[in-house]
Amino acid sequence: MIFEFRNIAWFIGLIVAQIFFIDYLDFGIYSSYFSPIIICFFILKMKLDTTVINLLMYAFFLGFITDIFRNTLGLNTSVLLIITFLKPTFLYSISSKEDIEKDVELNMFTIGLVRYLLFFGISIFLYHLIFFLLEQFSFNNLPILFFKAFINTISALVFLVFLQYLFIFKK
């Protein structure tokens, strides 16, 4: 029950942080390079024994609600679904199956900082890259897209570290 409540809080909290805080950050003329998306943290942090069907459902609704607020109907949803489906692939490409316990939430305190940076880094980078490609719907300006995805990945990772220190960290 407590677990459920915490999940709901994360679900709503991430959407609120994304839409009413991160989307409002203003960096002058560099703003167009800076639009990190952190909602995928909800999917990436889920325990490994969560069924894929459940994960896909969460991803669908999480993306859908965010899309309605940002007027990008279907964009976040489709990318989030892809990332959800590829999550095990990313995770097992950086660690063996025995390394990570199945009933533990994935965050920087449970899997370690290096694995956090690798696993979350790869997933969030790919999220941004697919997102920008789908948004633009062409392969023009690929170097700029890669650069944008890279910058946004780093800023999202840093922001998520703050969030985890605030809400997960226990002595």
């Binding site: 203003d26 167009s32 990008t72 489709s78 679904l81 633009q136």
Partner: protein, 276 residues
């Protein structure tokens, strides 16, 4: 038959993924490619807008000084016109006692409760909707220049497609030479502070610091509203046109107030546009 069921059971995760992905891609492409917009699935619906409104009410206090300054400036320029007893109609001034003169445009003041400015496709939300008589394809101007065109309307809110959206298109005039051009925002090359004007003949004498203004041709805006100041001029030799970069008059990162343009002759103009 049994094998088929076994196959579905085996790949049920993947099939479910494909199913949801298909739905989301359907949403993505149908909302982009068709004119049938999802009114209830955009930020102008009542739930999302009221949340944005709540946030606006909480944070608008902090920008009161800027809003005040903008309004003061606008007030002073309006006062100038009133004291001179002239009314602005188009680019020429006519006396207000003129009997032929008929009021053409009405303005309704609105608050911009959400302004996106850093994405590929940006939108604004304003706190006026069907109840206030706002309809699709009406213009929105700010205190300094034009902001955008109404895209979606719900009961109390409306979504605006601003200048800084690749799907925004408008014919504009060069103030000094009256040459026509097309206003285009290219997300890869522009940020929210600038915009391109293309298809102006290469022989047009455009100088840095000149202004581009609305033409008023489509009835969306009164003519003569400023759009931006020229900051860069390039020549496209192949097409014999100029590519001009403007600095937007409006700052979309901190726009808070606007005016919806009601055109009394909108229907009349529309008939002529269709005939063409």
């Amino acid at each position: 038959m049994r094998n088929i069921i076994l196959l579905i059971q085996k790949y049920r995760n993947f099939l479910f993924f494909l199913f949801l992905e298909f739905i989301s891609l359907f949403f993505l492409f149908s909302s982009r490619n068709s004119y049938h917009h999802y009114n209830y699935l955009s930020s102008s619906n009542s739930i999302t807008s009221s949340l944005y409104n709540f946030q606006y009410n909480m944070f608008s206090y902090f920008s009161l000084r800027e809003i005040n300054n903008d309004l003061l400036k606008e007030n002073s320029s309006l006062k100038n016109q009133v004291l001179n007893k002239d009314m602005v109609v188009g680019r020429k001034f006519i006396k207000s006692e003129d009997t032929i003169y008929q009021k053409n445009f009405l303005f309704k003041e609105v608050k911009v409760i959400n302004s996106q400015f850093k994405y590929y496709e940006n939108f604004l939300i304003v706190n006026a909707g069907k109840k206030s008589g706002v309809k699709e394809k009406m213009g929105l101007i700010g205190t300094k220049g034009i902001l955008g065109i109404v895209k979606n309307v719900s009961e109390n809110y409306a979504t605006i497609r601003p200048l800084i959206n690749p799907n925004f298109g408008l014919k504009v005039l060069h103030e000094n030479t009256n040459s026509w051009g097309d206003l285009i925002w290219v997300p890869e090359e522009n940020n929210y502070q600038n915009i391109f004007v293309k298809n102006i003949p290469i022989y047009t004498k455009v100088k840095l610091g000149d202004y581009f203004i609305t033409s008023g041709a489509e009835g969306l805006f009164p003519s003569g509203v400023k759009i931006g100041k020229v900051i860069e001029i390039n020549e496209n030799i192949e097409q014999q046109t100029l590519v001009i970069k403007l600095k937007n008059e409006e700052d979309f990162s901190r726009t808070k107030i606007g005016f919806i343009v009601f055109n009394k002759t909108a229907e009349e103009i529309k008939q002529h546009l269709i005939k063409k």
